[in-house]
Amino acid sequence: MTAPRDKLGRPVVVVTGMGIVTSLGAGKADNWSKLVAGESGIRTITRFPVDGLKTTMAGTVDFVSVDPFSSTGLSERMAELVTQEALEQAGIGAKGDFPGPLFLAVAPVEVEWPQRRELGRAVGKPDFTYDDLLRISGGGKYTAYHHRFMFGSVAAHLAETFGTKGSPISLSTACASGATSIQLGVEAIRRGETDAALCVATDGTVNPEALVRFSLLSALSTQNDPPQAASRPFSKNRDGFVMAEGAGALVLESYEAATARGAKILGVIAGCGELTDSFHRTRSSPDGKPIIGCMNKTLADAGMTPDQIDHINAHGTATPENDKMEFNTTSAVFGELAQKIPVTSNKSMVGHTISAAGAVEAIFSLLTLEHQRIPPTINYETPDPTILFNVVGNKARDARVTAVMSNSFGFGGQNASLILTREPA
C-alpha cells in the first residue's frame, strides 16, 4: 500500500496512459520491440530533395500522411494519434471529454516554404517584392493558412477534438519542451487544480529550412552513409545529432483519482526539476553548474538520493559538447555512481525528436520500468575514453530498474530533468 501523497505532502502524480510515434513506428508495442532490438529509424530523406545539404538523413515519420503537407500539420496529426493511444489505455473521461487541461510541447509555428512558394507563384510575374506577396495574401484565398500557422492552432485542434478543459497551453523550451509539458501537468495536479492532465509533445519539423538552420550551427551529424549509423551518442567519433520526428502523450492523474477509478498505474512522475543556464544561447556553462543544479533539484523534488536512481535515460544527443558535458555534470551529482548506473540514449535509434524528445524519452523510460529491460545505445563501437558512463551499448540489457532519471537540455539555456518510478515512493 502506498500513500496518495508524497514526502512533501503533495498529491502523488501517476501515469495512466501513454501513446507514442517515432521514426520506428506507431504505438508503444511497435516502438518498444524495435527499440530493444536495436533498430534504427534513421533513413535518407525522401520527402524533399536533399541536393546541396550537408546532412541528408533524418528520423522522419513518413508513414503518417497529411494533406496538404506541412510540418505543423504533421505535428498535429502525430499529436492526435499519440493522444488517442494514451486515452484508450487510460480509459479516462468520455470520448471528446477529457477531464483536465492540455499542456502541449510543439515546435514554434511559422509559414512554411510550400505555402510561401505558392504565394510567389500566385504573384504571376518574374520580378516582384515582398509587398507584392503581401498584396495578394488577403481576400480569403488563403484563410486556411492563417488558421494553420497560428502558434496555438495545434493545441486548439487537440483541445476541441479531445475535449480538454480550459485554455490549452502551447509551450516551447526548445529540446526540453517535452519534459516541460510533463512538469506543467505535474504541477497542476500537485496544486490541486485538477485530478488529471494531458501532456503531449510533438515535432514534425524535418523540412529543408530546419535542416539548414541546424547545419549552419554545426549541430547535425554529417555521417550520412549509412544513415542508421549516424547517431553515435557517447562515441569518440560522434559528430552531431540527427533530426527526427515523433510525438508522445501521457495521461497524468493524481494517485488518488487513478486508484479511485481503478485505473492501471503505469508509473509515477516522482520528481521534476528545471534550471536556466544564462551562459550562452547554444552552449552550456563550462562549469556545468546549471545542469548539476537541475539534476539536484529534481532529486530533491522527488525526495530521493543519487543511490536510489538505477538508470539514466540520457539526453545523449551525440553532439561532441553535449555528451561530454552530460557525463561531467552527472559525475558531479552522482559521484562514482555515474560510472556504474546503466545509461542509454534512445536518440541513437530514433534520433533527436527536438520538441517531443522529453516526452518520447519519458515514455521509453516508463516502458523500461515496465519491462525491466534497458534499450541499447546503438552505434557504440568506439567509446569516447573520456566519457566513462556505463553505457548500455548495442544490445538491450535486463536490469532491475526502480527509478529512472531522464534528462533534457536545450538551446536558450533550457535544462529539465524528470525522475520516473514504478511505484510511489
Binding site: 541536393d51 546541396g52 514554434p108 480550459g166 551562459f279
Partner: protein, 401 residues
C-alpha cells in the same frame, strides 16, 4: 478547471515591477503621460495600406550593454529584453544576484522573424525559372545568417533575457497568440500563490513592424488598412493595426516583497482563461461571461482594460459582453498601442497596476461612446484579452489593502 485565484491559505501576489517599451514611449511616466494626452503613434505610410504602431526608439545599450548580445537578437527579442530589464529595475532587483539566480520566468512569445531579402530572393529566382531540385537548399545554406535561427526560436526571448540580465531560475515560454500572455500570467500566479515560487518575471514582446507577420494575418484578412480608427470604431472597417511593444511584470509573494521592503503597484488576484469553440455567434461572449463570473470581484470602483483587437467577429462579440457590464468603464489598449499579440495581456495588467497605483484610470480614447469617463480611483480592474481567432483570458488586478 484552469483557474488561478488566491484561495484561502494561499499567499497574496503583488506586482512589484513593471517594464514598458511601446509605441508611446519607454517607462511608466512616458506611457502614462501619453495616455493622459490621448496620444496615438501610428505609421500609415511605411507599410501602406497597412497601419502599424511603431516602437518609440529606445537606446538599447542602456539595458543590453553588449553590442554582441544585440546583434544576436532580432527586433522582437531586443524589445523584450529591454522591457524585461526595465521591469527588473522597477522592482529594484536589477543586478541582485541572490534574487535573479532563483527568479522564475514565464514568457509569452511568437517568433519566426524572417529575412525578407532571402525569402524574396528565392521566390523571384524560382519565378525566373530556377527549378533545380536542390535550389532552395543551396540558397538557404548560403544566404541564411547562422544566428537568424536563434532570433526565430520562441524560447530565445527568455534565453536572451536570462543571458543579458543574469536570470537563473526556471524558464518557460508559452506560445499561442493573445491568450499565451494570459496563460503566462495565470501559471506564474498559480506557482507563487501555491508556494512553488516566490518571484517571477512575466511578460512578452512583439515587433509589429514586420511584413512577414502581415502576410500571415492578411491570409485571414485581419489587418487594418488605409485609415486609423479607434478599436471600437472599426465595425465597418475591421482589423487590427500591429503594434510594437515589450511589457514585463515582476510578480512576487507578499512575504517575499515585504522581506526586501518592496512596494507593490497592485496585487494580481486572479487570472482565468479558456478556449471558446467560436462555432456559433455568442459562443465567445458566453465564455467571457463564464470567466467574468469566476473573478473574485468585490464591491467598489471597477474598470475594464481590454486587449480587444478590432478584428471581427471577435470585437463585436466582446462589445456585446461589455454592454452587459456597462457599470465598468472600459479602455481598449489596441487603440493607443496597436495590437501587440502575445504582449497585449501583460500590457493590460501593467496598465491596470499603473492606474491603480496612480489612483486614476486613464481617459477614454474613443468616438463611439463605448469608453466613458471614470471619476475617482479604481480599486479593481479587470484585464481582458480575447484573441482575434482563439483564446480568451481575464485577470483581476486590485489595490493592495
Amino acid at each position: 478547471m484552469t483557474d488561478t485565484a488566491s484561495k484561502p491559505g494561499q499567499t497574496e501576489v503583488w506586482i512589484t515591477g513593471i517594464g514598458l517599451a511601446t509605441s508611446l514611449g519607454e517607462g511608466l511616466d512616458a506611457n502614462w503621460a501619453a495616455l493622459q494626452e490621448k496620444r496615438v503613434n501610428v505609421d500609415e505610410k511605411g507599410f501602406a495600406p497597412f497601419i502599424v504602431h511603431p516602437l518609440m526608439p529606445v537606446t538599447f545599450d542602456s539595458q543590453i550593454p553588449k553590442k554582441g548580445d544585440q546583434r544576436q537578437m532580432e527586433a522582437w527579442q531586443r524589445i523584450g529584453t529591454y522591457a524585461a530589464g526595465l521591469a527588473l529595475d522597477s522592482a529594484g532587483i536589477k543586478g541582485n544576484k541572490d534574487i535573479l539566480s532563483k527568479i522564475d520566468m514565464v514568457v509569452a512569445a511568437g517568433g519566426g522573424e524572417r529575412d525578407l531579402n532571402v525569402d524574396t530572393g528565392v521566390l523571384t529566382a524560382e519565378a525566373k525559372g530556377a527549378n533545380a531540385p536542390g535550389f532552395l537548399n543551396e540558397r538557404l545554406m548560403s544566404d541564411l545568417r547562422p544566428t537568424l535561427f536563434l532570433a526565430q526560436l520562441s524560447n530565445l526571448l527568455a534565453g536572451n533575457i536570462a543571458i543579458v540580465h543574469g536570470l537563473g531560475g526556471t524558464s518557460r515560454t508559452f506560445m499561442g497568440e493573445e491568450v499565451a500572455g494570459a496563460d503566462a500570467a495565470r501559471i506564474a500566479l498559480a506557482r507563487i500563490a501555491s508556494g512553488e515560487s516566490d518571484i517571477a518575471l512575466v511578460g512578452g514582446s512583439h515587433n509589429g513592424e514586420r511584413k512577414d507577420l502581415m502576410v500571415l494575418y492578411e491570409f485571414g484578412d485581419f489587418n487594418l488598412k488605409d485609415k486609423f480608427a479607434p478599436v471600437w470604431a472599426r465595425k465597418d472597417h475591421s482589423g487590427f493595426a500591429l503594434g510594437s511593444a515589450g511589457a514585463f511584470l515582476v510578480l512576487e509573494s507578499k512575504a517575499h516583497a515585504q522581506a526586501r521592503g518592496a512596494k507593490p503597484f497592485a496585487k494580481l488576484s486572479s487570472v482565468v482563461a479558456d478556449l471558446a469553440r467560436r462555432k456559433q455567434p455568442g459562443d465567445m461572449a458566453a465564455t467571457l461571461e463564464k470567466l467574468w463570473a469566476k473573478l473574485p470581484r468585490r464591491e467598489g470602483k471597477g474598470a475594464i482594460i481590454t486587449g480587444a483587437t478590432g478584428a471581427e467577429p471577435a470585437t463585436s462579440e466582446e462589445r456585446g459582453f461589455l454592454k452587459g457590464h456597462a457599470d465598468y468603464p472600459v479602455r481598449a489598449t489596441g487603440t493607443m498601442f496597436g495590437h501587440t499579440m502575445e504582449t497585449q495581456f501583460p500590457l493590460g495588467i501593467a496598465l491596470a497596476a499603473l492606474a491603480i497605483s496612480r489612483g486614476a484610470l486613464f481617459p477614454p480614447n474613443d468616438s463611439t461612446g463605448t469608453e466613458i469617463e471614470m471619476q475617482g480611483a479604481p480599486t479593481q480592474i479587470v484585464v481582458m484579452g480575447a484573441g482575434h481567432w482563439r483564446g480568451e483570458g481575464m485577470a483581476l488586478v486590485e489595490a493592495v489593502s
